[in-house]
């Protein structure tokens, strides 16, 4: 370890380019740490630097292989694909001696070949007690004949050590009557995954007794029932499924209702049931259509609710009426000018993030903002500054946010200096007790921060 404390010196009298040239030897420990931050593509490159580097490189604990890494410029796609497959096979040889892996991530295109190499990679990782397995196939958007890789579930047989499993854009085939066991699995994320049977997902999930975080995206046609006491975080994004959640310790639920490009809004009442999750602390909904009485009795259904996000949501009746005693943080992204029909009773609300895209009637806006009177900190995102430049006559009325201390404003479009100064005046009326104000605006196509203390 004596090498550790050597200082690097510049050799001033070398004939070559002297800037950034070291003559001292980089200690192995330092090489090791740097290499551990590199993607596998760069690790393999680095193994050519010298034999010492090769030795350090072959003992990395993370394999992160991305077919598209750094290859945007290439035109010869077929050759590139051949070379990538050859590289993947070679990788399994380079890192063969490694007895242990922390993480294996593979991101590639699937065009109908290379099945055996992919299977070899998965078993390679599992044999080395990998903790995190992340397999993602890129979907070709333009291809009409989209092929999906088919993963036989028994390929995941040896997964005692697996803690995180992420699968994207593949078909799962159940090829055994036994349930695959994932005793240590805490996080599972499935995106665009299809099972060959209707009970496929339920059976997979039943083999995960320790699971705490589950995320499903673009998964369709399932009938999902989630029970158990370990599940803490649940995310359902753009899925067309029937969901029943009876997890007794669920803390957070995030839901997105639209399916890809089509705004297919899923009715919360019919397909989803999360009423009995009394332990919920955080709820996040986007592109969701709520039935009339959904927000009634929020306090009794979710007594510990601290955080609520409503992003482009609407309610059948048109009115969103939120009453929650413990709510501390609220996120609201308006949808179709629904600012008018929003009322909030949250005495403990201390922070809010509000996004407004269209100009609305200023009096209505004033009432809307008045809902957030108890907040100490607000982040306001607007498309243009005019949205919150209140006209002079309006400013004779009382300020909507008398107690606000900290305000951050984000403006999407280019703002002129004149508009900026009109905005400042308006904000000073809106929130007279401000201690900290920051305005983030686009100026000539670049972001410019303007920090000022009011």
């Amino acid at each position: 370890m004596a090498n550790r404390n050597k200082r690097f010196k510049k050799e001033e009298d070398q004939s070559q380019n002297t800037r950034g040239v070291y003559t001292s030897h980089l200690p192995e420990l330092v090489i090791n740490r740097i290499v551990s931050h590199l993607s596998t593509k760069n690790v393999v490159k680095a193994s050519i630097l010298s034999k010492e580097w090769a030795s350090v490189c072959s003992s990395v604990l993370v394999l992160d292989i991305d077919e598209d890494e750094g290859n945007e410029q290439r035109d010869d796609h077929k050759k590139q694909r051949r070379e990538f497959r050859k590289f993947l096979t070679s990788c399994l040889k380079i890192f063969e001696k490694q007895k242990y892996l922390e993480k294996f991530r593979l991101r590639m295109r699937y065009l109908g070949a290379a099945d055996s190499t992919i299977y070899k990679s998965v078993s390679f990782a599992l044999e080395r007690n990998v903790k995190e397995l992340d397999i993602c196939f890129k979907r070709e958007i333009k291809g009409t004949n989209c092929k999906y890789f088919c993963l036989h579930q028994t390929a995941l047989n040896n997964a005692k050590s697996l803690i995180i499993l992420k699968l994207e854009n593949l078909n799962m085939k159940e090829d055994s009557i036994d349930i695959i066991s994932f005793p240590s699995l805490k996080t599972m994320s499935l995106k665009g995954v299809r099972f060959n049977t209707s009970t496929g997902f339920s059976r997979l999930y039943s083999g995960c007794p320790s699971i705490e975080c589950l995320s499903l995206t673009l998964c369709h046609g399932w009938n999902v029932r989630l029970s158990g006491s370990r599940l803490k975080h649940l995310e359902i994004m753009s899925c067309e499924i029937k969901l029943r959640v009876e997890a007794t310790n669920l803390e957070s639920f995030k839901f997105r209702g639209d399916r890809g490009f089509r705004r297919h809004i899923i009715d919360m009442h019919k397909s989803f049931y999360i009423a009995s999750c009394q332990t919920l602390r955080s709820l996040e909904f986007s592109h969701t259509h709520f039935p009339i009485e959904w927000f009634k009795g929020l306090d009794s259904r979710f007594p510990y609710l601290e955080r609520l996000v409503l992003d482009t949501c609407f309610c059948h009746s048109g009115i969103i009426n939120i009453s929650s005693q413990n709510l501390k943080s609220l996120g609201f992204h308006e949808c179709g000018n629904n600012l008018f029909n929003f009322s909030l009773n949250a005495p403990n609300l201390s922070e809010a993030t509000i996004t407004i895209e269209q100009r609305s009637h200023y009096d209505r806006l004033r009432c809307f903002l008045g809902n957030f009177g108890s907040c100490k900190k607000i982040c306001l995102h607007v498309n243009e500054p005019e949205i919150c430049i209140f006209p002079e006559e309006m400013r004779k009325k009382s300020s909507p946010l008398p107690g606000l201390q900290c305000l951050a404003v984000d403006i999407e479009t280019v703002t002129t200096t004149a508009a900026h100064s009109a905005l400042m005046d308006s904000l000073r009326w809106m929130a007279p007790s401000l201690e900290f104000l920051s305005i983030n605006r686009k100026y000539h196509n670049s972001l410019q921060f303007v920090h000022s203390v009011v």
Partner: protein, 176 residues
């Protein structure tokens, strides 16, 4: 025991003496971010007013490490509170090493390694890794002064075998 203990609690400081004989006084909470310092003083035993020598660290590096730790200590609890705090911490990590040459970063790595400042070490190592990612082998060899002990034939064979890894490389930067 001095009578100061009976008065209003004063900010506790720790003194460090660098290789160039400069003495730095740091607030205790910042100094305890250094694993080596924490181990030196332990929970009890070594009195806090004893000056700790750090003969392998130059004052130039120590100043920078103290700067990082102070700012980091301020931002970290905010990041745990809300999204805005997390964003600010990410921005801090992104911008903090922007202006430094790779050589400077290597000097800081040595100092941070000796003092056992893990958060800063992670950032420094990640920064170096980012700077050598996607660069040519020649550039990285020159940067670190590495002499290759492969024969040209051996190297050629490796380049051919792992051809995919050598595609899509950025142009060598003009200077660093």
């Amino acid at each position: 025991m001095s009578t100061e203990e009976d008065t209003v609690q004063e900010k506790k400081t720790i003194s460090l003496k660098t290789s160039d004989d400069e003495v730095f006084e740091l607030e205790e909470n910042v100094a305890m971010e250094f694993g080596t310092v924490k181990a030196f003083f332990g929970d009890d035993g070594v009195p806090r007013d004893m000056m700790m020598p750090i003969p392998n660290v130059h004052s130039k590096e120590l100043t920078r490490i103290i700067d990082f730790c102070t700012k980091h200590l301020d931002l970290k609890p905010k990041a745990e509170l809300d999204e805005a705090g997390k964003k600010e911490l990410r921005k801090f990590y992104k911008e903090y090493m922007k202006e430094d040459t790779t050589e400077r970063i290597m000097e800081l790595i040595l100092a941070a390694d000796y003092l056992n400042v893990n958060d800063f070490l992670d950032l420094l190592n990640q920064t170096v890794a980012d700077r050598i990612s996607n660069k040519s082998v020649e550039y990285v060899r020159k940067l670190f002064g590495i002499e290759s002990d492969y024969t040209p034939e051996e190297e050629e064979a490796l380049r051919e075998q792992y051809a995919w890894a050598f595609e899509g490389v950025d142009e060598d930067p003009a200077e660093d």
